[in-house]
């Protein structure tokens, strides 16, 4: 490998690692939220730690790909580390008519 090729390879590796390692590489935007702290439209970086209370849901859109994710509480950690598990069932059947909750 010539010196020029070595130099070019090095530059590619450095640029790629800068892009991949950047916290802004995979930002999310909140598209629906039950949380009082994380409002619709707010942005979350991949490295940021978020907290979702029990029974709360957070729907996020990955800015680069447009993919949406749903995170169901209780959860504390980064978006990337979230792992879903079967959520709990609904509460007991409601035997009444009601207005908006």
């Amino acid at each position: 490998m010539t010196a020029e090729k070595k130099c070019l390879t090095g530059i590619i590796i450095i640029v790629a690692s800068m892009i991949y390692g950047s916290p802004a590489f995979c930002d999310f935007v909140v598209v629906s939220s039950h949380s009082k702290t994380l409002k619709v439209g707010s942005e979350i970086s991949d490295a940021a730690e978020i907290e979702i209370a029990n029974h709360e849901q957070l729907r996020l859109m990955e800015k680069t790909s447009g993919e949406t994710r749903i995170l169901i509480g209780p959860y504390k950690g980064t978006v990337g580390n979230y792992s879903s598990s079967p959520s709990k069932g609904r509460s007991k059947p409601l035997g009444a008519t009601r207005g908006l909750p």
């Binding site: 935007v29 598209v31 629906s32 729907r59 859109m61 993919e67 994710r69 979230y82 609904r90 909750p101």
Partner: protein
């Protein structure tokens, strides 16, 4: 089972063959007349679907769902029927992004506020993208003739494609309905029938394949929270005016993602159009009808299907299970409890059926096996004493 174990191996083989033939005949007749007990079949099928359906690696790029939910309507005085000016505004916002098609999974079968009904009608008429609406019919219980008449007038004025939102139902005469959606509506292309909603949307795409078997081949979400379909909820907002700008309700960052996709607009409101599906056996939750339509649409677009096991294969499978169950109990249960052997044979058959589903998406109904077990238990006792006479 308490059988006599005194006959020769040849005699036992003959007895097993005769009994297996008899049992196979009864099981296949029961299948033909839809009188198999389906509860265990449903139970096993739901777990198979939950555990062995295809789990997505990346989100689909062709379908988006937009929900109007409780939070979207939190500043409206009523939630049903959904405010027609809001629907009009959303239809316009989606249409601006130039989607491949728009499906509105909301039934319009009664008047609301006249000027809001009118603004929706105008928005639907002016939409550029192919638009599919849905209509209920008299097969839905509780729908009044007046509602059907109002719906008919509204849809005629809308002048768009109208589809049916109804899913597949139960076939078995002995089935206890559990209201779990496992099948899509069957469709034989009669010229006057309304097409199923998902099929009508798929037709706008060009390439599609409506499966022969009505069973839905579900896609499971990724474990990192990634949804099967891109999904948005309309953010909460103050009750909109009839002349509101579409951007006032639905942020542009979301609108921009609709280009060249099939977008389904639907309500996701507590108790309205919510259904149980096989994957919710673990948590007893419900999903929206729009989510089920999207799953069916994805299946039609992909040309996937869950095939029922061929009848000849089913006959052979039932015969072999009955034969070995009877013969095994006759041969081996002098030293071991019969229930152990029965559980082994039936467990192996169920495991085989699960493997067939996982590897080839072939569905072999477990109800056949349950009936084999019951019949071999019942008739085995009598045939054993009958054959001992010869």
């Amino acid at each position: 089972m308490q059988y006599s174990h005194s006959r020769s191996f040849k005699g036992k083989t003959v007895a097993a063959t005769v009994l297996a033939t008899f049992v196979t005949l009864i099981v296949m007749l029961a299948d033909h007349y839809d009188v198999l007990l389906e509860a265990p079949d449903k139970f096993i099928y739901d777990w198979k679907s939950s555990l062995f359906s295809t789990r997505i690696v990346a989100q689909r790029r062709d379908i988006t769902i937009v929900y109007i939910d409780e939070v979207s309507l939190s500043k409206y005085p009523y939630k049903s029927p959904i405010d027609r000016a809001l629907i009009a505004s959303l239809v316009k916002a989606i249409d601006r992004a130039k989607p491949k098609a728009i499906g509105v999974d909301i039934i319009f079968d009664r008047p609301t506020e006249p000027e809001r009904d009118e603004i929706l009608l105008r928005a639907i008429q002016q939409v550029q993208a192919p638009l599919i609406l849905v209509a209920t019919d008299k097969s839905e219980s509780g729908v009044s003739p007046e509602a059907l008449e109002w719906q008919s007038t509204f849809l005629k004025k809308a002048n768009k494609i109208v589809a049916t939102p109804i899913f597949g139902g139960e076939d078995s005469a002995l089935s206890l309905e559990d209201n779990v959606i496992r099948a899509m509506a069957s469709f034989e292309v009669p010229s006057n029938a309304k097409r199923p909603f998902a099929l009508a949307l798929a037709e706008q795409n060009g390439n599609y394949h409506y499966p022969k078997s009505p069973l839905i081949d579900w896609l499971l979400p990724s474990l990192d929270g990634r949804e099967v379909f891109q999904t948005f909820n309309v953010p909460p907002h103050s009750k909109i005016s009839v002349d509101a700008d579409p951007d006032a309700v639905f942020p542009q960052i979301m609108q921009a993602t609709f280009t060249d996709k099939i977008v389904i607009l639907a309500g996701n409101l507590t108790g309205l159009d919510w259904h149980r599906i096989p994957m919710t056996v673990m948590n007893n939750l419900e999903v929206s009808g729009a989510y089920i339509h999207a799953q069916i649409l994805a299946q039609i677009l992909d040309g996937r299907q869950i095939a029922d096991a061929p009848e000849l294969f089913a006959i052979l499978f039932v015969f072999v299970s009955a034969f070995f169950l009877y013969l095994g109990v006759e041969l081996f249960t002098e030293r071991h409890p019969e229930i152990v052997f029965e559980a082994l044979v039936m467990g192996s058959a169920i495991l085989f059926g699960t493997l067939m589903f996982w590897a080839f998406r072939v569905n072999f109904p477990s109800a056949h096996l349950l009936m084999v077990w019951l019949l071999v238990s019942l008739f085995g006792k009598y045939t054993s004493s009958l054959f001992n006479r010869f």
